[in-house]
């Protein structure tokens, strides 16, 4: 079965993020139920589904910000289990573009070891430059956040998520507000990072156009997981047609 080829329905002793039997009920309404998910190290898994399918809630649950039932664990290659260390790349923040926050300020405040309103010590500045170098963004260090393009901002947030280096990288709609060139650049970068750091990468997206080029596995969800498999396999499935046909009708 192709599901096994693309990571399988179990971690099988390999390095992987395992979500099992996850459910979320909020204000008496079931938002997620019996979600099972495996993201192997070095793999890119794309989470797709209509608006309100619970993708953001699933992210929040994995981040530990949403009460849930079920289990979330990170298994090392030997089989040892820990709570996963997550690098989170949020949806483009809705901050005011005029705010005088530089890329350096963002990193310094996230590190939390030195007050960002004072002059930054040289060593810390070099460290931030090093983080930015991972995403080829050293030149952005003194830019205001508000003056970055969508793609540049995503790269900066990505560099931030890699500091400290996580087990799992989670990106919430990384391509929204990013132009075609920026999207390709971001995809090349993710590909490079997962190879270099053997990261598990989980991302949610609305953009199916080049899903097949980068995703090892696609998870179609709406309240629960409806279909898991290779990109083409999921997009050709009756479940995919049903979910997105329904959405078109609702929106029309």
């Amino acid at each position: 079965m192709s599901v096994h080829r693309h990571g399988g329905d179990d971690c099988k002793g390999a390095c992987c993020l395992r979500v099992s039997g996850l459910g979320v009920v909020a204000e008496g309404r079931t938002i997620l139920r019996s979600i099972d998910l495996h993201v192997h190290c070095g793999q890119i898994v794309a989470l797709i589904g209509p608006n309100g399918a619970g993708k953001s809630t699933l992210f929040k649950a994995i981040l530990g910000q949403q009460p849930h039932t079920g289990d979330i664990q990170f298994e090392r290659s030997g089989g040892a289990k820990t709570r996963p260390l997550i690098g989170y790349v949020p949806q483009s923040p809705a901050f005011d573009r005029g705010d005088p926050v530089s890329v350096l300020d963002l990193f310094v405040s996230a590190a939390g070891t030195w007050p960002a309103f004072l002059a930054t010590p040289k060593a810390l500045r070099e460290k931030v430059r090093g983080s930015l170098a991972r995403v080829h963004g050293e030149g952005l260090i003194d830019q205001k956040l508000g003056s970055l393009s969508g793609g540049e901002l995503q790269r900066v947030l990505l560099a931030l998520a890699l500091e400290p280096l996580p087990h799992v990288l989670m990106l919430d709609e990384p391509f929204s507000g990013v132009d075609v060139e920026g999207e390709l650049q971001l995809l090349r970068l993710l590909d490079e990072l997962r190879r270099r750091y053997d990261l598990s990468i989980l991302l949610s997206t609305h953009d199916f156009s080049n899903l097949a080029d980068y995703a090892d596995k696609v998870v179609l969800m709406k309240e629960t997981v409806l279909k898991v498999g290779a990109p083409q396999e999921v997009m050709d499935s009756p479940e995919f047609a049903a979910v997105f046909h329904l959405r078109l009708k609702e929106e029309g």
Partner: protein, 282 residues
């Protein structure tokens, strides 16, 4: 204070001569203590889009005073401080536990607090005029003990800034991102609003409620136009607040007008200049 009076006497002003006009010297010292405080808080009021909230806090401080007067406290200011702290906690809680927009939450709190304040102040046919000092403010009435209290407050806010500014900034840029990095966003927000609450209540009797919010908004609003990063932002905001504060005090002395109003007008001018500065800079 003696040291201060001797220092001031070196200044080339007629009121600065030794042995005279102590109220003016006290006022100058008070301004030098409190304007950096406002300049500092102002940066996050503006970045967090809380200018409406700080305004509401000012209004509620008045309600606290009215409650203090009702309870016949020797100094109703303390009732106001406690009331503002409770309100800031309640406000933060409501904001994080309901899906109401924060301007709606503020509107609810502000109008309730003001109505309650007026209700208590005028209860049983009471006269409102005794509250006028809080509305307009009188900086020349400030006493050395009060300045000491404000200096302590400045120390506390500085300590808060050094220890938790990073978390505060990250929460304001992106709450979910901050949460994912272990920041307790609601706690940070409450600490910050509590600081504003204390500063507003302790300084309102001599800045004046009607203009106090300008001190919390204008310095950073101008600094924001000029700065490219957090360091410059703080610099422009704090220095602007101090310079405008001193200038406002001097102007009010020579033209005989309300000091709070003069400071606000100076700050407004600063903001206007910063707008022009941004345009030519860009």
């Amino acid at each position: 204070m003696e040291l201060w009076y001797r220092l001031v006497s070196l200044l080339p002003f007629s009121w600065a001569e030794a042995g005279s006009l102590y109220f003016m010297k006290n006022a100058l010292l008070a301004i030098l203590v409190v304007t950096p405080l406002f300049g500092l808080l102002s940066t996050m009021v503006v970045t967090n889009r809380m200018s409406f909230f700080s305004d509401a806090l000012g209004h509620s401080a008045f309600t606290g005073i009215a409650i203090g007067v009702l309870c016949e406290l020797a100094d109703p200011m303390w009732a106001a401080a406690v009331f503002a702290l409770v309100l800031s906690a309640l406000f933060t809680w409501v904001r994080h536990h309901t899906d109401l927009q924060s301007d709606t939450v503020i509107g609810v709190f502000s109008s309730t607090a003001v109505a309650l304040g007026i209700f208590i102040a005028t209860f049983g046919g009471g006269s409102f005029t005794k509250f006028n000092t809080y509305l307009i403010g009188d900086i020349l009435s400030v006493e050395p003990a009060m300045i000491g209290l404000l200096a302590i407050l400045l120390g506390l806010v500085l300590a808060l800034w050094v220890t938790s500014f990073d978390r505060l900034l990250l929460s304001s840029i992106h709450p979910a991102l901050a949460g994912s990095r272990g920041v307790r966003v609601a706690l940070q927000e409450w600490l910050f609003t509590a600081a504003i609450a204390l500063v507003v209540t302790l300084s309102m009797s001599w800045v004046g409620l009607l203009v106090i919010n300008s001190l919390l908004v204008l310095p950073a609003a101008a600094g924001r136009n000029l700065a490219r990063n957090m360091r410059q932002y703080h610099l422009f905001s704090v220095v602007g607040a101090v310079v405008c504060g001193v200038a406002g005090l001097l102007i009010s002395y020579y033209v005989g007008s309300s000091t709070g109003a003069c400071i606000t007008l100076c700050l407004a001018l600063y903001f206007l200049l910063s707008l022009l500065g941004r345009r030519t800079g860009a």
